[in-house]
């Protein structure tokens, strides 16, 4: 478990990093927290010719509230985001998702943006980004561009990043008023990647009907997926238990081809996805109602 040889670069500015990435094209990998990349290097599953280490770039570890968003820089550690007062006040779903990632030692090194760029389909944060409609700020040789989360995640470990580009920050919309949220998952052990997981947000209007509802699933496809079939069942309706059960069933039925592996079959994932959508929606409803 020793990586094959690679060239190592430790730029101190983002421009320098981008130049190095452009120079090495798809032979280069970006190192931030290293919690996924380093094991893949050691198992020789990833064989980049060049490693561009962002850790010496200053000013990328920010977490801040900005224009109705929570904005997270490329080097903000998961642990810092988990503990951020801005996150707690404006978008607690992010902190709740982070608490499901590994253990504190992993979160002390791992970054939020790194998890998004790595795009494991069973990871929590990409699903949160998709559910909330987060924006991905990508920088590269041709300057900056902003990509919607739903477009950013392409397939298994694949995102909309061209050679030479780096994910600079992620912008998560703050939680609107009278909105409840939930993230629930089934993992073999606490902290493992999920066999299946569900994210839900639910906004109630004055009559107690769902003016906005968002449901996303992870671990059930080659990327995190929004589930409009479930959302439609609730939109404009009072989210009572029967409606939520119907939404959960719609989510279950909408799953086309969940993966099978040594830990669970497609049938298990499909079944549990439905269970989790129901649980997430009920918890989101309780929180929305409690928020007044």
């Amino acid at each position: 478990m020793k990586p094959p040889s690679f060239e190592y670069f430790a730029p101190t500015t983002l421009d320098e990093a981008v130049a190095l990435l452009a120079q090495h094209g798809d032979e280069a990998k970006v190192l931030a927290g290293g919690q996924s990349l380093v094991p893949m290097l050691n198992l020789r599953l990833a064989r980049p010719a060049a490693l561009v280490d962002l850790n010496r770039v200053t000013g990328l570890d920010y977490v801040r509230a900005e224009n109705g968003h929570v904005v997270i820089g490329a080097l903000a550690r998961q642990r810092a985001v988990e503990r951020s007062a801005d996150v707690a006040a404006r978008q607690p779903l992010i902190a709740a998702a982070i608490r499901l990632i590994g253990h504190p030692a992993v979160r002390n090194r791992g970054t939020v943006v790194g998890s998004l760029a790595h795009a494991d389909p069973a990871a929590e944060l990409p699903a949160v980004a998709v559910a909330l409609g987060a924006e991905m700020v990508v920088t590269g040789p041709n300057g900056e561009r902003v990509v919607a989360a739903d477009d950013f995640f392409v397939s298994y470990l694949t995102v909309d990043l061209a050679p030479g580009e780096v994910l600079k920050e992620a912008r998560f919309p703050a939680l609107p008023p009278r909105t409840g949220w939930s993230i629930v998952e089934v993992a073999r052990r606490f902290g493992d990647f999920a066999l299946a997981g569900a994210v839900a947000t639910l906004t109630l209007d004055d009559q107690g009907a769902a003016s906005d509802v968002r449901v996303a699933l992870f671990g059930v496809a080659d990327r995190p997926v929004r589930v409009p079939e479930a959302e439609q069942v609730l939109r404009g309706e009072r989210p009572d238990d029967d409606r939520i059960a119907a939404a959960a069933e719609a989510a279950r039925a909408a799953l086309v081809d969940p993966p099978s592996d040594v830990h669970a079959s497609a049938a298990y994932r499909r079944h549990v996805a439905g269970v989790l959508v129901g649980r997430a929606l009920r918890e989101a409803r309780e929180r929305a109602q409690a928020s007044g």
């Binding site: 040889s5 040594v262 830990h263 669970a264 298990y268």
Partner: protein, 785 residues
């Protein structure tokens, strides 16, 4: 809580902190991987990517040309080394010789095929990828019953079968028992393949001194002298010219009580290259190449009367031995052990056992804590739970009715074990009282009404320990077994204890020092325990099978008592008193009733070594004694109870509590006993709910990293409450019994039993472990497609 059965000295039985821990906790301990020798080079093994294939050729030229590469060896280069095979002498057991590097065939993924030696491990791994092996893939067989079938692919064509052992043993009159039975029951359980995962993987360094003709071999092993004997035989180096050193060993659990082909190859290379050669196994290698464990297919039948009295048992235990009937103790290591202990602590007068050992295209199986017994005990206890449910009896009452009661001890089982002493019913009662059994049953009913599913698993056990010659025979592995201790008072009065039982986490530096300190009347800090170097200790077999407390403790006792006699004799002369009137305590010898007349131990020691007048003509001046111990069989016992809640929508299990009652006779150090139980229970939780070495039908290991091979962590292990009972053995020195394995023998049945008890309203059907969330949902019919 320790219920003291016998008065004792200051140290034995005391909850003393482990004297070895500071160096482990501060990172000062040095393992094989920490050692660096001048001119040292590094080995990486090329391993088979196929479960079953013929090797048609190997081209190492590209690897040899790679940067930093010193040599590449294949079977042709080590053909002079004899193949490995087990030493078990049992009629009908076929041998499956394993060359140290694969010759004509590979039989499991991970089998060593070639070895690359380079200036560092990185370069060695780079070059290992360049070794071109021309394989002709063969059909693989990865299921034991499929391997037994007519027409199955054969691993060893010359044997004509994949079955290396198939014998039926009869005890009592099982056929009559089944004929007389009011009711009979059947159960099948395929226990999962899992493995010891020591924190330190395997590893070794060989260094050969050409001038002296001597090999020094550092290895992470449990058995230094046995390794030395093996290396001598395999390499043709005289045994006395080999020194085996184990620096720190970070856990073994049985995985390191065997001879591995990699060790032989590294020792061979050290001599061949005339340079020190180091091999440190990585985790990926450990998961696919170090011995696997625990997989059996067990079928049980029971004959009962209507009132729930057991009349007889039948068992078929099929051991899936993997690619070779491995040299630890052959592929019988699982099924033979399971079959002979199947009656457990129950009255079973009539018993028939069929023991089958099979080779398959998976990693070879070796010992792992409670080898054989984990699978056998789990199958039997889950079977008894089912029978009790069918009979409408409480599982506790069914067990109590059929259990051997204390007044029946000593008890000779139908299959030949002699249970010397114990507290079987008392342990069960104490465990139930501690967990609050009646309240839990009430709570269970309450929760069920709310749609929540709480379960209680009960697993009483008897554990063979003190692996000497007698118990080895009683549990089915006839092989003489004994060990030595040398106790010395140095001229300064300090004590050195050299033992052949090896410590790789068990805390012998503390427990064996406690034994010596009590007998020699010294402070614990004045005793140093030495082990793990064949040049520094007497000859002995090593640590395995819960033997070190009994055999190590016993041998230290006997040797220390002999030294004590010498001390008293010398002191008697110095004090002009009869040795019988002397008291040895607190580092001095004094005359009974006249505490003013005393000499310190240091004065006695220095006199013995340097003052001729205190010795008789020709008397040995050294205060040292070496004694061996080969104990009679002794059996520990206990009971584990687990409380779990199951989510019937997702199949997730939450363990709430574990209560473990342990009776291992005279307790040397209750804190260390607690630690043994905590670790073994954690492994049992892993093996029941999480750990599973999964293969596809071509023999690919699908759980080859810790991402997929799921060890339980702190978040999966609930609080474990340990209660001690103390029934000293009447047959061992100091009444000590061993206790390293009971936790892993008994906890899986308690964990699985709790899950199945929780789900009883759904009448779950489980024939396979581990209990993954999906398996649970299928067992209760939530998922059917």
């Amino acid at each position: 809580m320790v219920q003291m059965a016998t008065p004792r000295g200051k140290w034995i039985g005391a909850r003393v902190k482990r004297v070895e821990d500071p160096r482990f906790l501060t990172g000062d301990a040095r393992y094989v991987a920490d050692l660096t020798l001048p001119r040292m080079v590094h080995a990486a093994f090329v391993r088979s990517p196929y479960g079953h294939a013929r090797i048609k050729g190997i081209d190492a030229s590209a690897a040899l040309a790679a940067p930093g590469v010193i040599a590449v060896l294949t079977h042709a280069d080590v053909a002079s080394v004899p193949p490995l095979q087990d030493p078990i002498a049992l009629d009908g057991l076929k041998k499956t010789p394993q060359t140290v590097l694969a010759s004509d065939k590979v039989r499991f993924v991970g089998e060593p095929v070639a070895v690359v030696i380079a200036e560092d491990r990185y370069l060695a791994e780079d070059a290992a990828e360049l070794v071109q092996v021309d394989y002709e893939p063969l059909p693989a067989v990865t299921d034991a019953e499929a391997a037994m079938a007519e027409g199955a692919p054969l691993l060893f064509e010359d044997l004509g079968s994949n079955v290396v052992y198939d014998q039926t043993y009869r005890f009592g009159d099982p056929d009559s028992a089944f004929q007389q039975a009011d009711r009979t029951f059947k159960k099948r359980l395929h226990t999962n393949r899992f493995m010891a995962s020591p924190m330190e993987t395997r590893g070794c360094i060989g260094q050969y001194d050409r001038g002296l003709g001597e090999l020094t071999f550092w290895s992470s092993t449990q058995m230094p002298h046995m390794l030395r004997l093996s290396l001598a035989g395999f390499l043709g180096i005289p045994e006395q010219k080999i020194r085996v050193i184990t620096p720190e060993v970070g856990g073994g659990f049985g995985q390191k009580m065997t001879l591995y082909p990699e060790e032989v190859v590294v020792a061979f290379l050290a001599r061949h290259l005339q340079r020190p050669v180091k091999w440190i196994e990585d985790r990926r290698e450990n998961l696919m190449s170090a011995t696997h464990a625990k997989e059996q297919i067990i079928e049980l039948e029971a004959a009962l009367t209507n009132d729930g009295t057991l009349l007889g048992l039948r068992a078929t235990c099929i051991g899936d031995g993997g690619g070779y009937s491995f040299n630890t103790a052959s592929a019988l290591v699982e099924p033979q052990a399971a079959a002979l202990m199947m009656p457990g602590l129950y009255r079973v007068a009539n018993y028939e056992a069929r023991v089958v050992a099979v080779v398959t295209n998976k990693t070879p199986v070796g010992a792992f804590r409670a080898v054989g017994w984990t699978a056998g005990h789990t199958a039997r206890e889950l079977f008894f739970d089912e029978i009790a449910r069918e009979l409408g009896m409480d599982p506790v009452e069914f067990r109590r009715k059929n259990m051997i009661h204390e007044d029946e001890l000593p008890y000779t089982t139908c299959s030949g074990q002699v249970y010397d002493s114990g507290s079987y019913v008392k342990s069960l009662d104490l465990a139930l009282q501690t967990v609050g059994y009646d309240e839990l049953r009430a709570r269970q009913a309450e929760l069920r009404a709310q749609g929540r599913y709480l379960g209680i698993g009960i697993s009483p056990y008897v554990e063979p320990t003190a692996w000497g010659s007698e118990i080895a025979l009683q549990v089915g592995f006839p092989f003489p077994s004994h060990d030595n201790a040398r106790v010395s008072i140095e001229p300064s009065g300090k004590v050195t204890v050299a033992v052949t039982t090896h410590s790789h986490g068990q805390g012998h530096e503390t427990t064996l020092a406690q034994v010596a300190a009590d007998i020699l009347g010294v402070d614990l800090a004045d005793v140093t325990v030495v082990f793990g170097d064949t040049a520094a200790t007497p000859w002995g077999m090593g640590t395995y099978a819960s033997r070190s407390a009994v055999i190590g403790g016993g041998a230290v006792t006997l040797a220390a008592q002999e030294v004590r006699e010498k001390i008293l004799k010398i002191a008697g002369r110095m004090l002009e008193a009869d040795p019988a009137d002397l008291v040895l305590a607190d580092g001095k010898v004094s005359v009974q009733g006249s505490p003013d007349r005393s000499v310190t131990l240091a004065e006695v020691a220095v006199s013995s070594y340097f003052v001729n007048s205190v010795r008789a003509e020709g008397e040995d001046p050294t205060l040292t004694a070496t004694r061996f111990y080969d104990p009679k069989a002794t059996y520990s016992n206990g009971c584990i109870v687990v409380v779990a809640e199951v989510d019937p929508e997702t199949g997730q299990v939450r363990l709430d509590r574990v209560v473990s009652v342990e009776d291992c006779g005279t307790v040397l150090n209750p804190m260390i006993v607690d630690g043994q139980i905590h670790g073994a229970v954690a492994q049992g939780i892993g093996g029941t709910l999480y750990e599973h070495l999964v293969y596809d039908d071509q023999g690919q290991l699908l759980t080859g990293t810790f991402m997929d091979y799921l060890l339980p962590t702190a978040t999966e292990v609930p609080p474990i409450q340990v209660e001690h009972l103390e029934t000293p053995s009447p047959v061992t020195v100091q009444g000590i019994k061993g206790m390293g394995e009971g936790g892993l023998m008994a906890s899986p049945a308690a964990v699985a039993g709790a899950v199945l008890d929780a789900l009883a309203p759904f009448t779950p059907k489980v024939e396979e472990l581990p209990l993954s969330p999906e398996r649970i949902l299928r067992a209760i019919g939530t998922i059917t497609d």
